[in-house]
Every structure is written in C-alpha cells, then in structure tokens.
C-alpha cells in the first residue's frame, strides 16, 4: 500500500501527468492512487491519451461531427433495442400483444419504442449526410478507400436493420412489409425461390419468418455492424481525419517547401501513409480533445434531444394485428424505401427482376467502387465534375423516385 504514496518514486510522464486533470503528480488521495493502480495494470491512461489527443484538422470541424453523431445514435439504438427485448416476444401469437402491453402497462415502454423508431429515422438521414460530406470533400481517395467501402457496407447493414426491424411488431404494417420484402428475393434468377423459402421458412409468411427475421435483427446484423464499426474507426484513426480541400491549401510561393515543413512537424496520426505529400498533413491541426470533441458532443446532444422528443410526442405507430385476410389495408413502405418501391411500379411483368436487381445492383456497386472509379487526385469539388455531376444526377433521381412514391401512395 505504501508504494504509491510517495510522489517522486512514481514514474508519471510529464504529458500524462496533467492528463485532463485526473493524474497530476504527485499521486495522492484515494482516487488518484486507485487510478494509478488500475493504469499500471491496463495502460488506460495511455489509451485515453492516445484517443483524445490525436490531431484533427483545425478548420471545418463542424462538418466532421457527423460520423461521431452516427455512432452515438447507433449506441442509442443498441440500448433502446436491449430495453425493447425485455418485453418483446418473437412469436406470431405474442409479438403484437407484447407491444400492446409495452404501450399500455409499461412505464415509458412506448417512449423507448418511439426513441428506437426515431433513432432509426435520424440514423438514415445522418448516414446519408455523412456519406455526402465524405463524397464532396473526396475523403475516400487514396489511402482511405477502405474507410469509404466499410462505410457503404455499414449503410447497407443499417438499411437491413431497418427493414428487419420493421417486420418485428407483427402488426399490419409489419406483416405486409414482411410479405413484400421476403418476396423480393424470389425474383433472383435460379436461387430466388430458395432464398424466399429459407427466409419465410415455407411458402407463406409465418412463424418461422418472424423468428428468422428476429435472429437477423437481434444478433446477425448487429454483430456484423459492430465488427464493421470497429474496422471503420480503426481505419479512421490509422489514416487520420482527412477533412477537406480547405485544410490543405498552401499560402506561400514555395508550396513544396511548405508541405515538407508540414510533414516535418506533423503530429500523429499525420502524415498519412500512402497519401500524396500535399494531402498527407492538414495545414493546421488541433487535438481531438477538447475542440473537436466539444463540437461532436454539441451535434450529438441536439440529435439525441430531437430523438427523445419525437419518440415521446410522435412515438412509434402500432396498427391492428397482422391479418392476411384484409381487403382494405394499403401497405406503405417507410420513407427511406420509397425509391425502391417506386422502381417496383416501373418495371412490369418479366422485367421485375431486372428493375430490382440490375438497377439496385449497379447502384450499390457504383457506391462501393467509387474510390476506384474516381482516380483524379484533385480533392476540390469544382475540379471533379466528372464524378460530382453524375452523382448528383443519381441522388436527384433517388429523391425524384421517392417523391413519385409519396405522390402515388398519399395523393399529395
């Protein structure tokens, strides 16, 4: 016990000594002694230090808050999802009534469900804006190709989470979502019927459909999601936040000397390995803590407040119980699936397979392959019209399809 009481004997590196005020030397008092004990055994201080004091670009920090906000909302989804599991019963006979119980008898149960739904809505938008920001600033270029690809895969996983989650309440909306969504794979050539049978557990949507979808939503997809998030963050820290072209301007008439100077004084994780010299170190950097973390926290707070408020005042709808024998129910997809749903209208008869798989497949491949399609080293959006113009045409088409879907389903 007496080992750690005397200050001079405890080796605390100077820069760690004033680490966010937690472990100033000499180590006195029970909290600091416990911290030092724990740190000796885990290296937690060094880990936190590395996490918090890495350099990020100084300018434009508000634009770089979207990734961390996405992470925060995903964490909200994990926690509210775990809470929902405390009540939810994944069976065709009990799923709906368990949510009715949650609505009527469980304190804040419906609020939790509302947060889970609005969290999903916000997550969709956030990922979209995060991807758009990354795209416009060309952050996906060498050596960050895999950051982009893992991000696109995360987007697909979140879409899959949304569609599997929508089937679980086993109300009318869930039942008809399950029917339409599990029917889509059947238009795949050769394996289509098999995939539909496997997902449904038979010819019709039934008890197995719900348990299989539940397993996907609760275990399979979240496990993949967590793994990919880990990889995405690791790659972010390995290559550093790119920022955008504004962080790499040179201001003197000797740009190569200026860049060499930047590289010489770069702080970890810069200079970015594998990058062209011009883009390997931002012109000015700050530590992630406290500047960037402050901005990240502000944005996350605003979004979480919005999700909590909408979860309370708007909540999550619950239709009547699943009933295949309805003649009046009009199944409508969630807003983020409207573009796909509209494609289903456009492709008649034997072209359904083409419409769904070829077009969506091409879109997905283009998104994944973007870093290899766009090999122009320039990062400034004005000088990249060859990718920006087609991309905005693509995004415009997706939005137009969604609007057509809204018009068709809601007669606005």
């Amino acid at each position: 016990m007496s080992d750690h009481t005397a200050g001079p004997e405890v080796p605390v590196p100077a820069e760690q000594g004033d680490f966010i005020g937690l472990v100033p030397a000499p180590i006195v008092g029970p909290f600091r002694r416990s911290w030092a004990w724990f740190d000796d055994r885990t290296g937690i201080t060094g880990l936190l230090y590395k996490g918090l004091y890495e350099a990020v670009p100084k300018r434009g920090g508000w634009a770089y808050t979207l990734g961390s906000a996405t992470l925060v909302v995903i964490i909200v989804q994990f926690f509210t999802g775990i809470f929902l599991l405390l009540d939810y019963v994944p069976s065709v006979t009990n799923a709906y009534s368990s949510l009715l119980y949650l609505r009527t008898d469980d304190l804040f149960g419906d609020w939790i469900r509302g947060i889970h739904l609005w969290g999903a809505y916000v997550l969709m938008l956030l990922i979209g804006v995060h991807a758009l920001r990354t795209f416009i600033s060309a952050s996906y270029k060498k050596p960050r190709e895999l950051n982009w690809i893992s991000g696109v895969m995360l987007f697909f996983l979140v879409l899959a989470m949304a569609i599997t989650g929508a089937m679980l309440p086993w109300d009318q909306a869930a039942y008809w979502t399950a029917t339409v969504v599990t029917n889509i794979p059947h238009y795949l050539p050769v394996i289509g019927n098999g995939v539909r049978t496997l997902w449904r557990g038979g010819d019709f949507v039934g008890p197995v459909t719900l348990t299989r979808t539940f397993a996907l939503h609760i275990w399979v997809l979240p496990a993949l999601l967590l793994g990919l998030i880990g990889g995405h963050l690791y790659l972010l820290r390995r290559h550093g936040e790119f920022g955008s072209w504004v962080n790499y301007r040179t201001t003197t008439d000797n740009p190569s000397g200026e860049i060499a100077e930047r590289i010489r004084h770069a702080e970890p994780p810069y200079p970015t390995r594998g990058s062209e010299p011009l883009y390997s170190v931002p012109s000015e950097t700050v530590d992630f803590f406290p500047d960037q973390l402050f901005k990240d926290t502000v944005v996350s707070l605003v979004l979480v407040v919005f999700i909590f408020v909408m979860g309370l005042i708007s909540g999550a709808p619950l239709d009547g119980p699943a009933n295949p024998a309805t003649l009046t129910y009009v199944p409508t997809p969630e807003w983020f699936y409207l573009p796909l749903d509209q494609l289903l209208v456009f492709f008649p008869t034997q072209l359904v397979g083409l419409g769904v798989f070829v077009i969506v497949g091409i879109g997905a491949t283009l998104m994944l392959a973007l870093p290899f399609i766009d090999r122009n080293p320039d990062r400034h959006p004005i000088r990249r019209p060859d990718v920006l113009v087609p991309a905005f045409f693509f995004i415009g088409t997706v939005i137009y399809l969604a609007l057509l879907g809204v018009n068709r389903l809601y007669n606005l």
Binding site: G206, V208, A325
Partner: protein, 157 residues
C-alpha cells in the same frame, strides 16, 4: 505442427458447418403438410354470377412450428359457368388484392396491379394471373355446394 494445427482447425470448422448449414437450409426440404378446410359462410350456391365475393377460410400454414390457423381471403367467383377460388395475394409482391366494383377489376393497392374477373393480369406490374387456392367443391345431403381449399396456391408465384 503448423499443418496439423491447420488440419485440426479445418476439422473443427467442417464439423460445426454440417449441422449449422443443414439447420439453416432445412426449410428447403421440409414438406408442407397439405391441409383442407371448408370456406366459411355456408354454401356457395347463392353467390351471384359475375360478382367476386370475399369469404374467409381459416387455414393452417402447414410448415414451421405449431401456430394458430391463419384467416385467408377466398374470392369465390362465378363467371361464364366457371368457378374460381381466388386468393387476395398479388402475383407481383403478394400484397392484398381486392375486388374493385367501380373498375370491375381486382386491384392491388401496393403497385397498382389489375386483374380481370377471370384472374388474368391486365394492368400494372403483375407478371402472372391472380393465383387461386387449390380447391374442390363438396355437395352435402341437401344438395348444397360447399367450397373447400387447401393451404397452398394453384399457381407458383
């Protein structure tokens, strides 16, 4: 040593894969039990010619763990001397089709599929006719006709 470790790891993977993959794929070779039920609402003798009439049948799924029977729509349709037992399952995305009197067509609310009274797909994206339940007619002692359906569709959709 390295080769042995690799071989053992491969054996572990293979051992675990056989039951896991078989379990995953089991619905592919599980057979659906064919179950017949009588359509509710009594005999079909007074169903008018040319007007598809929705009846309910409570049909077990026939696959998966035990679950309560599911109510299904049977559009009992008499047209030009023929009897049809249409489902309300659209051949496009399996949404809930209904008979629309103002159009004299079956209409699907999802993507606007249209079917004639004979079930023929006449508009919108549906690639095939409106599927019918596998069905048969039974005559009772009073000479009235009762419709029975099985828990599967006549057409593969």
């Amino acid at each position: 040593m390295v080769r042995g470790t690799g071989a053992m790891a491969g054996l572990i993977t293979a051992m675990l894969s056989v039951p896991a993959v078989g379990f995953l794929l089991s619905p592919l070779w599980a057979s659906t039990k064919e179950i017949w039920v009588t359509v509710q609402g009594g005999p079909i003798d007074d169903i008018p010619e040319g007007l598809p009439t929705a009846r309910i049948a409570s049909v077990p799924i026939g696959s998966g763990p035990p679950a309560p029977a599911v109510n299904r729509i049977v559009y009992v349709t008499k047209y030009q001397g023929k009897l049809y037992a249409f489902s309300n399952i659209c051949s496009h995305m399996q949404c809930d089709v209904h008979w629309e009197p103002s159009l004299s067509l079956f209409e699907c609310p999802c993507h606007g599929g249209l079917y004639a009274i004979t079930g023929r797909n006449v508009g919108g994206p549906p690639p095939q006719p409106l599927p019918q339940w596998v069905h048969r007619v039974q005559v009772d002692a009073q000479g009235r006709h009762h419709l029975q359906i099985a828990n599967r569709l006549e057409e593969q959709i």
